[in-house]
Symmetry: C2
Subunit: 813 residues, 2 copies
Amino acid sequence: MYPNSRVFPTNSPAARCSTRLKDPPATDQALPRRLVGVPPPITVFHSEVFPIKLRPTCKTDAKLIMASAASSSNTITAACFSSLHRSSGAASSPTDQLFSAAFPKFKGLKLDLSSSTDLFSCRRVGGKRRALNHLITGSVPVEVAPETDVALIEKSVNTIRFLAIDAVEKANSGHPGLPMGCAPMGHILYDEIMRYNPKNPYWFNRDRFVLSAGHGCMLHYALLHLAGYDSVKEEDLRQFRQWKSRTPGHPENFETPGIEVTTGPLGQGICNAVGLALAEKHLAARFNKPDATIVDHYTYCIVGDGCNMEGVSNEACSLAGHWGLGKLICFYDDNHISIDGDTDIAFTESVDARFEALGWHVIWVKDGNTDYNAIRQAIADAKAVTDKPTLIKVTTTIGYGSPNKANSYSVHGSALGKKEVEATRQNLGWPHEPFVVPEDVKSHWSRHAKQGAELEVKWDNDLATYERKYPEEAREFKQLISGELPSGWDNALPRYTPELSGDATRNLSQACLNAIAKVLPGILGGSADLASSNMTLLKMFGDFQRNTPTERNLRFGVREHGMGAICNGIALHGSGLIPYCATFFVFTDYMRAAMRISALSEAGVIYVMTHDSIGLGEDGPTHQPVEHLASFRAMPNILMLRPADGNETAGSYKVAVENRKRPSVLALSRQKLPQLPGTSIEGVARGGYIISDNSSGNNPDLILIGTGSELEIVFKAAEVIRKEGKTVRVVSLVSWELFEEQTPEYKESVLPSSVIARVSVEAGSTFGWEKYVGPKGKAVGLDRFGASAPAGVLYKEFGLTVDNVVVQAKQVI
Amino acid sequence: MYPNSRVFPTNSPAARCSTRLKDPPATDQALPRRLVGVPPPITVFHSEVFPIKLRPTCKTDAKLIMASAASSSNTITAACFSSLHRSSGAASSPTDQLFSAAFPKFKGLKLDLSSSTDLFSCRRVGGKRRALNHLITGSVPVEVAPETDVALIEKSVNTIRFLAIDAVEKANSGHPGLPMGCAPMGHILYDEIMRYNPKNPYWFNRDRFVLSAGHGCMLHYALLHLAGYDSVKEEDLRQFRQWKSRTPGHPENFETPGIEVTTGPLGQGICNAVGLALAEKHLAARFNKPDATIVDHYTYCIVGDGCNMEGVSNEACSLAGHWGLGKLICFYDDNHISIDGDTDIAFTESVDARFEALGWHVIWVKDGNTDYNAIRQAIADAKAVTDKPTLIKVTTTIGYGSPNKANSYSVHGSALGKKEVEATRQNLGWPHEPFVVPEDVKSHWSRHAKQGAELEVKWDNDLATYERKYPEEAREFKQLISGELPSGWDNALPRYTPELSGDATRNLSQACLNAIAKVLPGILGGSADLASSNMTLLKMFGDFQRNTPTERNLRFGVREHGMGAICNGIALHGSGLIPYCATFFVFTDYMRAAMRISALSEAGVIYVMTHDSIGLGEDGPTHQPVEHLASFRAMPNILMLRPADGNETAGSYKVAVENRKRPSVLALSRQKLPQLPGTSIEGVARGGYIISDNSSGNNPDLILIGTGSELEIVFKAAEVIRKEGKTVRVVSLVSWELFEEQTPEYKESVLPSSVIARVSVEAGSTFGWEKYVGPKGKAVGLDRFGASAPAGVLYKEFGLTVDNVVVQAKQVI
């Protein structure tokens, strides 16, 4: 990609700025001679051949410290190699041996010589050659910028830094620290590595980039600006964090073309990235042919310390390792600073070793501030490992370049302040006015519009060729990525009559899922280790696994939160995939943060939530949702659906599938329910509708309202009360949101304001029901936690019975 | 503890059934001779000296497989030692070297010879002698039951298995698999290791046990039954999972004395255990003296695969490693089975290596089904490591003993069925009727009542001695563990008058916290890496850290969920500690599962939630709570408080501190708010109250209701409307729950039903407000996501202004 780049052969000195050495270096005198002749291949996490360039980074002692760090690198390298060499006698052992060496700990700008740690570790590959074959490939060739262009690159990197500084300063709000520290990796990604078309941010085959540490969004906005995205013009940068701007305080895909997902709540982005990479792996396996590749992109991500502390990231990264998502490449911005100060106060685990344990390929770039080649080489090496995701730990300095605030929490989340901005300009030698992109930098980046257009044209041609060779697959592929649903797809949904046997809505849900999976090529999903309880297996497909990626049953393990966030990534891949995921309804509590982001970021995930009330019985109150229906009804842009039987379950799937920019939550019963007369797919679409009525003139004596498993109760109660000569209307309020979207006339036709005798019945909190039952009505529900007992006993004890509803109703008529 | 036990000296053959060998074995011929003379100390995760006893476990091929596994153990051990020996030349290297060897994978009852994995790993300790000093202690002496008693132990273990089988069978619901697999470790813990008094389950200095894999609760109930707890009699076992029984479907501390915390939602229990261990470490450091120990107990925990998949457990375990909680000992029930089948489908990470990365001491017991000595030794070795928590991975067979269902998901969560129960009885040679505890087993366990009473008496005496020597400390300690608040504590709360300068309620919260920390010895807590935003630092204390455990500022890192669950453990330690924890209000979404368990399990955690609305401004909708107030108002047994100023913040703390069996959530503003006239600490206690009124006769023209930061808006709007000649009442509805608990008369005096002209104003979802504004009233709020812009702009754009409230009010008067 780089215009004047050179490709070095593997064994050249330049290529040895590598993280892996296939053969012992033959010529470089800086490396210990003892290495020569070591027989087995060795993987080393970063070594340097290019000397670190000493730059006037800061006026303070930072310069001195950087110099110390740089000058000690050869010593460090030598010590490591030496240590490796001494153990080489064990090379023939059929053993996969891990070594870790104690080294001075490099912490941001501070080299802490008082303590030592095993941050630096090296893996020796002995046995298991087949499994670890990829590790013994040599250093891959890498494009390296010629020296003459390094100055321009640094200028570009500083442009990114100052766009971030200036925007935060103008807004007097924001996070300059991350963009200043991550500008080098950002530059290399967007200028040298990634394939995208700035004039079409939605080009299907683009590389995806996720800034999981979303607070650093000015990094991303600056990169989109330089790359030529129309969504981030200079005026947008000036409007950073302002009302209706395209540059909000955290990255929002629905505001800014070029932003793939919505991040900011920590840990979510990396999980989204796992979902994006999963989507790519699935579609590539499903559609690519030996002679025709139409799905082929990488997913890049930047995570910070915060993301790595969040449990959700561990969940998704464990799955990424399990699935072998080799085209997922994450940069860990290892800057040792979080809001409360040095990460030493709460985060002293070995992140490297944890990711290794999760099955990741881990690389360490020791100097992410200035060592561009190490970053380039790390990416090349990451790509060379195709069966594992890669974590590139990049040690950076937060707020790099700020003489007085770098490497401290004060640069994390506040504007630098006029004085420090000036000092940083001086320190980095930046003479430009705020928001200025120097002409040579602008000119340098200008090629991306042309190159991006060429990439897209080439892909269009590839797709055309593919279509000629594989018309059937091409038809499905194009259908899929169009985002349009196949016409008439909903004819596949089952319909029920009251004569048909009753069933739990979780089972009816399975019938729907299996029916629509036959006609919707984008359906895929699974459960958090409850597939046989949630009834979510697609029977015609196998498991999506490392070696069976064309399949569509996802096995998330007991990882609800990671599951939701991964599904957001799948939904926002923009390829027409429709992810569903499942657990017990009560465990939405584990994944609520991801579900809220589904709602906010317009990710049409289908949440299949079974065991939706005390009706689950003996498992008791830890497993019985009570307040959950209310909690989702209160959440914007999400559809809470609680179907009562087969028709309503089918109707709920129709709604869920058609709402591609709004997630749906289906609350489904564990217990068997009858097929009720009067329910319909069409009724569900209106949110609330009459299923039975013996009144005329829109003026019944009583309105009984139920949802889900309690619709049966109100249906039967109505029959009892009618026998006493009253007119009773039964309303199914399957989705409050959809009902509220109907016309006032329709709503009045279902719930006439003149009828104040109303009773609602729902096996959950009555919170919010006043809206529909009014001050004179009654809400029968459960405003306490449930209990462990058979479901029938619980319904009786808590008054969720026909008898009690009749009693309550008589009090309001 | 064991009546006829012998203690072997360190170098005896018996002691060498150890996980660590200080010196090379001199006599045992089963170990490779080459080991003799190896100079450095070696840590080996499990080896055997006692031959594994071949038992008729199952009728199927299990017997053969178990035999294979057993007979291959010497080979495995030899291979490992041999491998270690070959590398011994590196012993002088200043390097901490990790080795892992490829071994056949033992999977439940199946020994998979086709694949090899590095489950077996051994740590060689070379350099860093200071830091790893504990590792080079030799094998600690361990009590081992004499051979003559082994038969009785097996009988006891089978008693546990059958009590679980029988109870699940009778309930026709439950989880027999875990109790059957974990019975040996359960027996050893409750019969040989733990210190408790069954007749006083709340004895302060008891060892704590948490079954994090709570679905296996019949294990715990069976153990409590055998140990003599009055809470679990035979009748209680027969009532397993029935209405109002003391043996609910998952462990519930509020139902069953002897159960410490409420588990079932996976991953929570291990986090609670971290909190329990933290409480012990803190109190021990704070009160113990060189010559007087009054706080000294272990915290034991059993986690399953599910717990280890959940991200929340990774969060808390990272902190446990960081804090060096050496008295936390967790058993990982490594049975390779989860609900969806073999864990291979979703969980292939190396749990051992991950826990090592988190700073834990990891031990592997290869055969948790029959190798009691290995379990005993692992516990002894765990105790010997005092500066790291220990994970003992115990490979077990789920449903051990069931000939046709063991080692499969079918035994996880369903009754075995009559036929299989019979087959299991035959297989394990169990002639007894259901629920029978054989007399010799009963007699064997009967000593615990006496021993427990003695332990408590001894501790009482120790405390009396302590009191004589350290009266001041004893006074504080006794005050603390009494659970009573010091009388007059609330006089420390600040009070405000309208003349005082306004401030953000997050700052006012900090003033309260710092004020009450001076008078409440139990206050401790912290933030999820937002201390400087949440304003939660206790200024008179330092950080609770590994080496400063007497301090009270907890640094949770960016781990909201783990934070909440750890605080549940602290609260339920029963020692009068009052934990508080903090993050942005929107991120309650991350920790909601833990907060629900606070509510359910009566853990009086104080949740300090700042940045409680769009008032946080530029960070945008990912950070702006909208539906969160409603979502907690709908949750049972939790107090949602949204104070408006200094007095209400102080009042909220008064409520929160006094509610020791109900958690409180304080929603606090980022932005500055005035000290309003009419607010009071006393008013908050009633949930809703009048702060201003120009009407008489309880019949104003209009009632304006506000909470938190919007109380100022309704206060000002009232002034405007009053100028137009209307009578207006202003009500602060700071806590809906508390208001609902008032008498009908009081509620009517605040919100008279005759006044239907009502307007509520709250910067959040209007969901639920119909209850207070009625069908003719108006709820001004925000039923969409927020946006990124300065707070003032957002309030204006979303109509949360005095002007708009006046307009809305005029429409309802």
